[in-house]
């Protein structure tokens, strides 16, 4: 085996990559179990699998961030060892991470130069900023990826930050690009643009490894599909394979991708927001005059790209954030002055968007997490004590009822998978009589099997006559669950539309573009 040092280049375009028997263990867990993959030059190779299937672990080994316990990486039939990303880059492999690896307070050019800076010598390496800038502009023009070299990264929208990441990889002359869940943060339009960029890159002979769990995108772009489940390759497929078959491969059993539900029978108005104005943590206006109404027995979905005020809106309703103006009413009673505890006690269920920070206490057991909101109420306890017997009984029932896969209800919640942690939250919030259920990103980081289950529970709750507010950045989820969709953009509700509205129109609305046709439906 041979190791490479920067900036030594071993290959000539095109690049053929082969992984042979890659195995990686973390303690008892086998994250990757003898994985074999070949990526041909100029192809988009999709790596499809659920969260936690081992896709990212595999790619981190390919990018030199982790070292495999067994197996070989071959570039153009030559076995190589990657001790750090530097080696991988030198071999022509670049990676765009799911969470962008950009320094927010640096300019685009600084971020792109970082690690392989152009210098004019000197003991500390005097930076040649003009050359760095020129390199950025050149790459950006060559591949048709517009970026402003002087902009601060923190001022850029996510779509543009992603372009910076891609340009950053391309300036390092890579021939194989790993894209880790690149569409998770994009609007439908931005996703289309990204797919176009991927096509033009492969046309220039670059190959792409596309990691995702979104079936539609895989079918749209991939030349070959490898499906991973629990660390193993469970099959390869061509893009002609149907979504149902791909999903079944991914999960290991047949799953229904559609949310099955009957038409809603909306009743009285339960939640009423009028003229709601809320600021974010920095004191910048996040919600700017929102009027909304959620009725009993219906699901109102809020669609929108993340960061358009959805988070702040929900937090304001839950009493977690101060109102600047406007009113929040639950069955005609104001919630504005109530504490979060009293809002919960008034019959509001809340599934927060950030499960690990706001949804569960990871160190607490499943049983304890299931009574976090009711610990001082009968039957679980009173102001002085907790009745461990009834806590235990409750836990057993909920674990069964909500299909929480665990060894014992006494295990810490932190030991569960994301999907099962979310089921704990859902079980807790749906175990008391509700008037209103607020579910923020209810299936983020949750496996397909659990998504089906959680969606079913939400619809079940609706059919019991609860008013449901669902916030999600996954358009599919909003469309599947909602009876009415409110599209949020820059702190305002642009339109309230029916879930039958064509995707393209929803996408445009999420990007803040309202057509005249939409106007009569706008509130």
């Amino acid at each position: 085996m041979k190791s490479l040092s920067w900036p030594y280049r071993i290959r000539e375009i095109p690049l053929k990559l082969e992984l042979r028997g890659i195995t990686k263990r973390f303690g008892d867990l086998v994250a990757n179990d003898h994985i074999d993959i070949t990526v041909e030059p100029g192809e988009v190779h999709a790596l499809l699998g659920e969260n936690g299937a081992g896709k990212s672990t595999l790619m981190n080994q390919l990018y030199g961030l982790l070292q495999p316990d067994e197996g070989q990486i071959l570039v153009n039939d030559e076995p190589l060892v990657f001790r750090s990303p530097r080696d991988a880059i030198a071999a022509g492999i670049g990676m765009v991470h799911q969470h962008f690896m950009l320094v927010p307070v640096f300019t685009v050019a600084e971020n792109i130069a970082l690690g392989s800076e152009e210098t004019r010598g000197g003991p500390l390496g005097w930076l040649d900023r003009r050359r760095s800038r020129r390199d950025v502009i050149e790459t950006s023009e060559r591949y048709g990826l517009p970026v402003d070299p002087d902009a601060l990264v923190e001022d850029l929208p996510v779509g543009a930050q992603q372009r910076v990441e891609i340009v950053k990889a391309l300036t390092r002359d890579v021939d194989l690009l790993i894209l880790d869940e690149p569409t998770a943060v994009l609007t439908p339009q931005e996703t289309q643009e990204l797919l176009a960029v991927m096509r033009s890159l492969t046309a220039m002979g670059k190959s792409i490894v596309f990691i995702t769990h979104k079936l539609k995108e895989v079918k749209a772009i991939a030349d070959r599909i490898t499906v991973v489940r629990r660390g193993k390759i469970v099959g390869t497929a061509s893009p002609d394979t149907s979504e149902e078959e791909l999903a079944a491969l991914m999960v290991g059993r047949a799953v229904s991708l559609e949310v099955s539900k009957t038409p809603a029978e909306p009743g009285r108005s339960v939640l009423k927001l009028s003229g709601l104005v809320v600021d974010d943590d920095r004191g910048v206006r996040a919600v700017d005059g929102v009027d909304l109404e959620v009725r009993a027995g219906e699901v109102l979905g809020i669609a929108g790209v993340q960061g358009n005020g959805q988070t702040e809106l929900v937090e304001a309703v839950m009493g977690l954030r101060e109102l600047r103006a406007g009113t929040v009413e639950l069955d005609n009673e104001s919630l504005a002055t109530l504490s979060t505890k009293r809002i919960l006690r008034a019959g509001v269920g809340y599934v927060p968007e950030d499960r690990s920070h706001d949804g569960v206490v990871k160190e607490f057991s499943i049983a304890e997490n299931l009574i976090l909101d009711m610990y001082d109420r009968p039957p679980f306890g009173n102001a002085f004590k907790i009745d461990l017997g009834s806590v235990g009984t409750n836990a057993k029932e909920r674990v069964e009822q909500f299909d929480i896969r665990c060894m014992s209800p006494d295990n810490a919640v932190g030991t569960l998978s994301g999907g099962n942690q979310q089921k704990v939250v859902v079980a807790r919030e749906m175990s008391r009589p509700l008037r209103l259920l607020i579910a923020s990103q209810p299936t983020r980081g949750v496996d397909v099997g659990s998504i089906e289950f959680i969606h079913g529970r939400i619809i079940h709750e609706r059919d019991q006559g609860t008013a449901v507010l669902v916030v999600s950045s996954e358009l599919d989820e909003v469309v599947g669950l909602a009876d009415r969709i409110a599209v949020m953009y820059r702190g305002r509700v642009l339109a309230i539309v029916s879930p039958d509205t064509p995707r393209e129109e929803l996408g445009l609305l999420m990007a803040g573009i309202t057509g005249n046709a939409r106007e009569e439906e706008t509130e």
């Binding site: 690896m101 970082l114 445009l508 990007a511």
Partner: protein, 422 residues
Amino acid sequence: MSTATVEEIGEVTAPEPFWTRQRRLGVALVLIGVLAAVLFGSLAPSEAARFTLSEDAEGAALSINGQFGAILFGIVTIITGGLLFTSFAKRYQNLLLSLGILTFVLSFLCWQVAGKFLPLVDTTSGTLQLALPLILGALAGVLGERSGVVNVAIEGQFLMGAFAGALVGTMATSVWVGLISAAVGGVIIAAILAVLSIRYLVDQTVVGIVLNLFALGVTGFLYERLMQNDASKYNEPPRLPEWRIPGLADIPVVGTVLFDTNLLVWVALGLVVLIHFGLTRTRWGLRTRAVGEHPTAADTVGIRVRGLRYMNVLLGGVVAGLGGAYFTLVATGSFTKNMTAGAGFIALAALIFGRFTPFGALGAALFFGFAQKLATYLSAVGSPVPSQFLNMLPYIATIIAVAGLVGRVRAPAADGVPYIKS
């Protein structure tokens, strides 16, 4: 690729809030300006305030009527505050701010000096000398914190540097050996800090506090058991010589202060410039800042995060150790127990007040040094203002800075967060 969609989303920023940093600073300046003009103006006797170029009351001097001066400078402060508030001349923001603070200080001086005299050269060089360890200590902090390691052990590094400089300097009868030993002393503390916080992921603030106590204990013990027994053998280091640069030293005030002085002054000022350009213009600086802001991003482009942090913390140890040398090799000529008396914490304050930048740290250190110098002057002339008030100034300034009353101080994002490779 660049359709309207992307551009539109690019504008997802709310309008700027009314109370910007500039506006708040403006209001603050107007308030202290009014205080100066009214309070200082009414208290000041209508006598000449003389700022003399020589050491005594005679000779050339800048002179102004105390009451008139107090009111005049107070009014200038109000005007600069007003200009800041109205957002006039946005790009000269910092200049206006400095001018406002300067005129406030001048107003205060006019009141205090009215009917008396203030020797300019002595005040300026005293300020610089008192600021010297603060500058070096704060620079040590800049090096560590910009790469993501919190350094509250500056006090301990000072003490260790001061002690090592005195002990080894005396034994070797060479001030240069003493100076190098001082740097080594600082590095010893820095090395412990680095290993515990980078390798063993111990909470960096806790380690820092413990190291301060450790340095105090060790140097105190050795001082009592070793140095006090035979001071001439262990605790009489040669002093750092003062060098006079012919020509330049003849410039009034500035010449005496900057060009007829000891080596450490030049080292400190040189380091400010060097570290400033190092951080902003070199590969080392870009990587240091990247490691302090987003270590994972640095790692994914092949930068050795921990290695760079070790290097910067150790370099900081050298700089802080030199700061410690000031106490024994420049200021006094012998070591005494706990002789730094909290200077390391004022250096930490200067670092934060100076917004983690070399020039900011220099400015803050000079400001604090001036406050200390003024405190001595005020108690000497029997001023009604207790000198303790001025000694409090660094801490009050830091509280104001940290509380974000005049614009939030933004520490490097990964400051104090150990890097664990996933």
